[in-house]
């Protein structure tokens, strides 16, 4: 896995869909439109100063869209979660295409809060959308409807809008059906411009539950940004080493006492830069989080990215951004069918290079296969027992009678029933804990419940262990059988997961690979208990150590439907607990 960021493994990106024709058009966005955007920005600044409510804001956006003659409306929504309700208002407008029947659409969106975090407002992003609406409707090029969405807050606004648009309203969301509807949305751009001006445009692409958009979209955007806008694209907000010649040392993780020739080595800088991208990618994908508002689109088969204006002192502003967005829309407008030609499984190591699935998948699959073989080996071992009997061999020629040992291998039964009951019981325990975590009571008395759950899950297995049948010499010890089935199941989970969400599979391979394979019984009680405690911490320690993560994972599950939290509770933690039980069983 450490090899993933090596530049040699990556290959250059290319555009696979011929219909896209990126950066082949003359753009019309001009300084007049920049002025419109500036005016919108002043109005928005006024709104921010006056501290308008979400409803008043949405109404203002709706008025702005209506003034342009677009079919505009607002949407009010309320999410119910275990921590209370969340509500807000979205504004949106549909521009029907002058050239087609409106069966297909693309979306330009901006959210009220920015990806940058710390409460940064996406004021300039919204002004861009408003002025683009005014600008785009003057042209008759569009073969697809264009939908402008200004969503409330950061994520949940757009989530409510998309669910209402597609008629998949979950039970905890209350909202009215949308007033204006267009066709099937194919692609979407989300604009995030929170700073004063920018030097690079960053692309965020991870979606919910590890989904990624088709790579053609990112590659076309990179072309357009380079050739039409004349400014470089970056992955996330990480600037390339070449852009940071003198400031690289501030970014580097290498401590300052390392020799200068190492710190300045271009290969190492490249490696570090790519590793930073990969780590960030895995951080988003493994937890099933999306890196921006665009990530909500992917679940509806809409390819979407966030264009993030990396805050800087200059030199670019509305002019470059408008041109690039216009040109990207023209490219998206060229599509004849859904994006399908290019890759859906990739790791973007730098703006121009990526890793194909064939290059990174083996890293997780190898671990999984190793675990599978270890499990099968344990299974075979469990079936045979070595009996050492002393036989005196009477050598014909030799005088001394040397007692020799004779090994016979005898096979024994491998009763699986108690093992399977143990495994099912741990998973049921996981389900119970998960339901508790999602309940309102947990949220109210967090300080009481966290240690209580931890104590319960670590105490229940040792308490119930004496109920299992005792080991007898004729049958294989249940700890070996449990270890074997545990390894086989974990290996299956990893290899299946690697297709759905590679980063999560890689994380599982890291956390479960070695610990599960080395779980073993020990002769001394203390060692066994210590080992068991270590497995307990590995399985459930996050409850205590990472309270914020727990909170955000549960919020993601309840509002956005990210299955990372249930997966950890119901699959990951029980598997590690089974390894812990293997240690305990040996000692009893």
């Amino acid at each position: 896995m450490l090899l993933i960021p090596i530049p040699l493994l990556s290959q250059g990106t290319y555009i696979d869909e011929n219909a896209l024709q990126p950066a082949q058009v003359n753009t019309y966005w001009n300084w007049g439109d920049v002025h419109t955007a500036d005016l919108h920005m002043y109005q928005l600044d006024g709104i921010v100063d006056r501290n308008l409510t979400s409803e008043q804001r949405a109404e203002f956006f709706r008025m702005e869209f209506s003034k342009l003659g677009l079919a505009a409306s607002t949407q009010n929504y309320t999410f119910t979660t275990s921590k209370g309700t969340i509500s807000g208002n979205n504004a949106y407008a549909v521009m029907s295409s002058p050239r087609a029947a409106g069966t297909e659409a693309m979306v330009i969106s901006a959210s009220w809060l920015s990806t940058a975090g710390h409460g940064a407002l996406n004021v300039r992003g919204i002004s861009t959308v408003l002025s683009l609406a005014a600008f785009l409707k003057d042209y008759s090029l569009w073969a697809k409807d264009i939908i402008f969405v200004i969503s409330d807050d950061y994520l949940h606004g757009m989530h409510a809008w998309l669910n209402a648009y597609h008629g998949t309203i979950p039970s905890n969301l209350h909202t009215d059906p949308l007033e204006h509807i267009s066709g099937v949305i194919w692609t979407a751009l989300n604009i995030d411009y929170s700073g004063h001006s920018f030097s690079h445009l960053g692309v965020f692409h991870e979606g919910l539950n590890g989904r990624l958009p088709n790579q053609d979209l990112i590659n076309s955007f990179r072309f357009i940004s380079h050739y039409t806008g004349g400014l470089p694209m970056t992955v996330y907000d990480h600037l390339e080493p070449a852009d940071l010649v003198d400031r690289w040392s501030e970014w580097s993780v290498l401590p300052s006492w390392t020799p200068a020739f190492i710190r300045r080595s271009p290969q190492l800088q490249q490696y570090e830069y790519r590793a930073r991208n990969v780590v960030r990618h895995i951080g988003y994908q493994a937890r099933g989080m999306c890196s921006g508002v665009h990530g909500l689109f992917h679940q509806f088969r809409i390819d979407a990215i966030t264009i993030f204006a990396v805050p800087a002192k200059g030199p670019h502003g509305f002019h470059a951004l408008g041109k690039i967005v216009e040109s990207t829309l023209r490219t998206m407008n060229n599509l004849l069918e859904r994006l399908h030609a290019s890759f859906f499984f990739y790791i973007l190591t730098s703006p121009g290079t990526f890793l194909k699935i064939g290059m990174f998948l083996p890293s997780a699959i190898l671990v999984s296969v190793a675990m599978l073989f270890k499990g099968l080996g344990e299974w075979v071992d469990a079936g045979w027992v070595r009996e050492v009997s002393e036989v005196s061999l009477k050598g014909t020629g030799s005088l001394e009678k040397e007692p020799k040992t004779k090994d016979t291998w005898r096979n024994r039964r491998r009763p699986m029933l108690s093992v399977l009951i143990t495994m099912v019981a741990t998973h049921v325990l996981g389900v119970l804990v998960f339901n508790l975590l999602c309940s309102r009571r947990f949220d109210e008395n967090r300080s009481f419940f966290v240690p209580a759950i931890l104590a319960a899950v670590s105490m229940i297995p040792p308490a119930l262990l004496p109920l299992l049948p005792k080991n007898t010499p004729e049958v294989a010890p249940s700890s070996v059988l449990l270890k074997s089935s545990n390894l086989c199941l974990a290996s299956t989970v990893i290899s299946i997961m690697s297709l759905l969400n590679f980063s999560l599979a890689a994380m599982l391979a890291l956390t479960m690979g070695v610990p599960l394979a080395t779980s073993s019984r020990s002769s001394s009680m203390t060692t066994s208990l210590l080992r068991y405690a270590a497995y307990c911490i590995l399985a459930w320690g996050w409850l205590v150590l990472l309270p914020e993560e727990v909170e955000s994972a549960i919020w993601n599950w309840e509002v956005l439907g990210v299955w990372f939290a249930p997966f950890v509770c119901i699959v990951y933690a029980p598997l590690v607990m089974q390894a812990g039980i293997v240690c305990l069983q040996g000692s009893s």
């Binding site: 989904r211 990624l212 088969r301 859904r338 399908h340 859906f344 499984f345 599978l372 099968l376 299974w379 096979n411 039964r413 491998r414 009763p415 699986m416 029933l417 399977l420 495994m423 099912v424 998973h427 089935s485 086989c488 199941l489 299956t492 290899s495 299946i496 297709l499 759905l500």
Partner: protein
């Protein structure tokens, strides 16, 4: 739990599942792993609707079920979930009777042993059989009829057995593979002869006369089907022909559809012939090799169907897996049961996953799903080869103690629950 109550309890459980409004049943009915165009409930409904509206169901090319099912569901009963539950119960009961006949036990014993409750639960709780049945796929009826045939044949009731196989063949023409072992079973005994092979000792003349009887029943059923289908022969092409000419290339866990999607049209007839003949080829070798134990031969041929037939659904390998519990004497001789189990586990997880990636998320493509169906094929093949091996190996004598039998049954059954957990 008392051993004797397992069958009633499980049957009640199954009936309860049929009555309760389960979430996700709608998804199951559309699932390609458990419904093929030949067995799908939705297509059955479509055919019934067309019949009600005086349209010939076999005209449009979307309806492939047998006219017998059409007549039953249009006149006697509406297709309600209870029927599927009852069919499952009948299947489990038949499996139990086959077991008793094979072990030479009294057919109406009041007490049951652990092995018997395992056999019943292996049928009713097998996810490969339970899910198709919950999805109201007609493969449930095919499986029950197959088991009924084997049951009558084991109990030495020639007429009932031949009538049942005639029904089975009418529902699914591939069951013709089972005809020869069933005729052989009728003239010999179902008791296990695997450990002591001997030449076939039944009377060949009797087989011929039984075959004549079968032809009679079969022709009567064909005639009945023609009358139901308004005196036309078009149903034959639409329902039986579909298995041979593969008109509908809807993906399924089998090995045919992808091959014929990719093929140039002018090779199609040739390869259709090759694929169909490939299935028939197995009949004679299996029946000659296992002439001493025709029930085992029938079991192996069911395994062949569960791996290689066109329009495979999970119910076909499911029947093979559930029938493994009938032969505890060979379990000790299986070489790689855990590998087969793991392959099935992987296949059962990969098939729906790749299907979702391809069809609903659009991130994958047909090759993804085909790869998963190859894993399924490997799992089926591994199980089949292993069963063949064990059936022949047992004759050479023992490496393992006889008393292991029961423990092995238990081990095998519970190993398969892993599949149930997914």
């Amino acid at each position: 739990m008392d051993e004797g109550t397992v069958l009633p309890v499980l049957v009640c459980f199954r009936l309860l599942l049929a009555v309760l409004p389960l979430p996700g049943q709608h998804i199951l009915k559309h699932d390609h792993q458990i419904n093929s165009p030949l067995t799908s409930y939705l297509r059955l409904k479509e055919g019934l609707w067309m019949l009600d509206n005086n349209v010939d169901p076999y005209m449009g090319g979307s309806f492939h079920h047998s006219p017998l099912l059409l007549s039953v569901f249009s006149t006697i009963l509406p297709p309600i979930p209870i029927i599927w539950a009852v069919s499952d119960a009948v299947g489990a009961w038949a499996l139990l009777r086959i077991w008793r006949a094979r072990q030479g036990l009294s057919l109406h014993r009041a007490t049951t042993s652990t092995a018997e409750s395992l056999i019943v639960s292996a049928y009713i709780l097998n996810p490969y059989l339970l899910f198709p049945s919950l999805a109201l796929s007609t493969s449930t009826f095919e499986n029950s009829f197959t088991l009924l045939t084997l049951m009558f044949a084991s109990e030495g009731k020639p007429s009932s057995a031949l009538l049942a196989i005639a029904f089975t063949i009418n529902l699914s023409p591939y069951s013709i593979l089972l005809l020869l072992p069933i005729l052989m079973l009728l003239v010999t005994s179902p008791a296990s002869q695997l450990a002591s092979p001997r030449p076939f000792h039944g009377s060949i003349n009797r087989i011929a006369s039984l075959f004549g009887e079968f032809m009679l029943y079969w022709l009567v059923l064909v005639g009945a089907a023609c009358i139901i289908a308004d005196g036309s022969w078009s149903w034959m092409k639409a329902s039986w022909g579909a298995s041979l000419t593969l008109p509908d290339l809807t993906p399924n866990p089998g090995l045919w559809w992808y091959f014929f999607t990719e093929m140039f049209d002018h090779f199609r007839p040739f390869f259709l012939m090759v694929f169909s003949v490939h299935l028939v080829i197995y009949i004679l070798p299996v029946c000659i090799k296992f002439q001493h134990d025709p029930l085992y031969a029938a079991f192996l041929l069911i395994g062949v169907l569960g791996t290689f037939k066109a329009y495979l659904t999970l119910a076909d390998p499911g029947l093979f897996l559930s029938m493994i519990s009938l032969f505890p004497e060979v379990h000790g001789y299986l070489r790689h049961p855990i590998v087969t189990t793991l392959l099935h586990l992987h296949a059962a997880l990969l098939l729906p996953l790749q299907h979702i990636l391809w069809v609903s998320e659009g991130r994958g493509n047909a090759n993804f799903y085909y790869a998963a169906s190859l894993v399924m094929g490997m799992a089926g093949g591994a199980g089949l080869v292993d069963a063949c091996w064990a059936g022949m190996r047992i004759a050479l004598g023992d490496v393992k103690v006889e008393s292991e039998g029961k423990g092995q049954v238990a081990r095998w059954e519970v190993a398969r629950w892993e599949v149930a957990q997914e």
